[in-house]
Symmetry: C2
């Protein structure tokens, strides 16, 4: 199992990426190919007091790097020798089993969609992070790749999210909820009303376990394993959870910092505080799978430190081992609406 | 100043409503008219060991009550002697200055829209709660009254929210943010892109202070005073904040309950814990203003206890005193798009 890592993507690249890769090689026994400016990577290794490339770690030189200034839609094409383009080419050529990047989400999405391609029949790739919830985390799909969606996209997200919850999170018969503003089937916009019917149909055919509409409050509290949303609402949900976690974490910090007695209290519950922090820690989650792409691609968040990169690498090989993409490929027929399937077969652009 | 209170609305009616009204009369020196089943209200007063109606409190009998089983759109019409319909008639007749109900949101919205009417030119009434944020709370408008919106609705929400933040929350030059999935003007769906331009225009004309798009994380952390959203996304935002607060509150509780030492820690920071809880306490906020209605109407949440009802009454007379609705009426011309203004004048249905 080999994971290809974009050494140049992210705010702390290449240092955190190199350190994360080193840790992953050591701790998981996985092979890692670091793609990027060879000299800079070796420099990082040296600063980490690693004189020789450890077994399992290789460096693939790429002379360019995609930056936030590049147009996300075309960056991979204009910078053919970027760590992004070179890395995805390695993935496509079968040199590695998964690709991890902490660089621009838009550039990674465009490059993965156009270079590695989606599974045939899947209309859009979706971002599917695991968000902290009362039931130990839920897959949120989509959370920002597609601001505007059709009911069919959401049907596909539901299937892909359900497979992910089963294969990667180990949830048996994962409960799929449609993010909505009420539980009744008539709630929400046209999109949710139409999607509800499709998901109910899939449920009745025994293809996934649709738990109905789920309100945001119940979703956070852990009512379902998969939260299906268009990218706009999913992003609002995700960022609100993150914001609330930060805001309340800061409030808690203030509460313990008031005086000597409250500082003593902090010492007494220090394990609890650590758990509380870990709950909201994006670094522990690692990255976000790009669901619907025909090979495992993981987006690590932009501010990834070494731990986050290491966890994203773990997520990459877990996804590769899980057989998840085979599941999607085998069942894609159930995720395509007849009308659009026919359009697809007639070669018309969708 | 007199506030009319629906004594029969809400999960804890009439008891909490009566108790809340009593408290408001005592603590704020405001008059309250309790509308509902006269016998049941007097029974409640008796159980609260109040033998005579205190000065400032009156009871108006209404023989019916709107329930969750009634069709929200027509309940006020089918139950002409309901506390909802009778209460709004009193408001319309000038017997009171504001109306408070903890009953069905849908029924209240329909009744207020059709009986009390919107300010002329305002297309839709919106729910505008104050949500807990890092800057001491922000007005979220809309949070569920209108799942599908036009750019013009959002422009109107922005103005009304801005006036509310200034007149009721006392924010000087309130910062208005458009809830979105990125800060660039091109982010989001068609709705956000078009609304951005309208808000920018209003900003450039010096009519409100548009701070641009705001991501959900920054909104929770307190970047703006007014969060403008369509009812669907606004509801997702609000319920996620509530859910995260509950979830993290429970985590914190668990952290203090582990053993004797952690229980000691809880005693040491008990003031801080109380503040933390208060931050997320819906009862302390009271209710949600129905912005755009031509008279002050407050929706208290369904599970309101006496404190929540009392706070909603305070909110009712604060809103009535603020002159906010006059501001909306005087400036509604700036909130209407030309095309739709013309349609309005031609008498065509909007």
């Amino acid at each position: 199992m080999k994971v290809i890592v974009d050494a140049m993507g992210g705010d702390n690249a290449p240092k955190s990426n190199v350190q994360g890769a080193l840790n992953a090689v050591k701790e998981y026994g996985v092979d890692v190919a670091l793609v990027g400016d060879g000299e800079a990577i070796l420099e990082c290794l040296k600063s980490l007091v690693v004189d020789n490339l450890p077994k399992g770690l290789e460096v693939v030189h790429a002379s360019e790097a995609v930056t936030m200034e590049d147009d996300p839609a075309t960056a991979f094409r204009h910078k053919k020798d970027s760590s992004l383009t070179v890395g995805l080419n390695l993935l496509n050529d079968g040199v590695g089993d998964a690709f991890v990047s902490a660089g621009s989400t838009g550039a990674l999405l465009s490059a993965a969609t156009l270079m590695t391609k989606r599974v045939k029949g899947i209309r859009r790739a979706a971002l599917a992070p695991v968000v902290p919830t009362g039931n130990g985390g839920a897959v949120l799909i989509d959370c920002g790749a597609n601001a505007e969606c059709t009911p069919e996209y959401l049907l596909q997200f539901a299937f892909m999210g359900s497979y992910y919850a089963r294969k990667v999170l180990g949830r048996n018969e994962p409960k799929v909820g449609l993010l909505n503003i009420g539980t009744e089937p008539t709630k929400g916009t046209k999109l949710q009303k139409e999607t509800y019917l499709l998901l109910q149909e899939a449920n009745d055919a025994g293809r996934l376990h649709f738990a109905g509409n789920v309100e945001a409050r119940e979703a956070v509290e852990g009512a379902v394993d998969v939260i299906v949303a268009d990218g706009y609402s999913g992003n609002i949900f995700l960022k609100t959870v993150e914001g609330a976690g930060k805001f309340l974490g800061r409030q808690m910090k203030g509460m313990f910092k008031k005086n000597l007695l409250t500082k003593l209290a902090a010492v007494l519950v220090k394990d609890g505080i650590r758990e509380f922090k870990a709950l909201m820690d994006a670094d522990a989650v690692g990255g976000t799978a790009l669901m619907g792409i025909s090979k495992p691609v993981i987006k690590a968040h932009g501010s990834s430190n070494a731990t986050a990169i290491q966890n994203a690498i773990r997520q990459g090989f877990t996804l590769a081992q899980s057989g998840l993409i085979d599941d999607i490929t085998a069942n894609v027929g159930y995720m395509c609406l007849e009308r659009e399937k026919m359009l697809d077969e007639s070669g018309e652009k969708l």
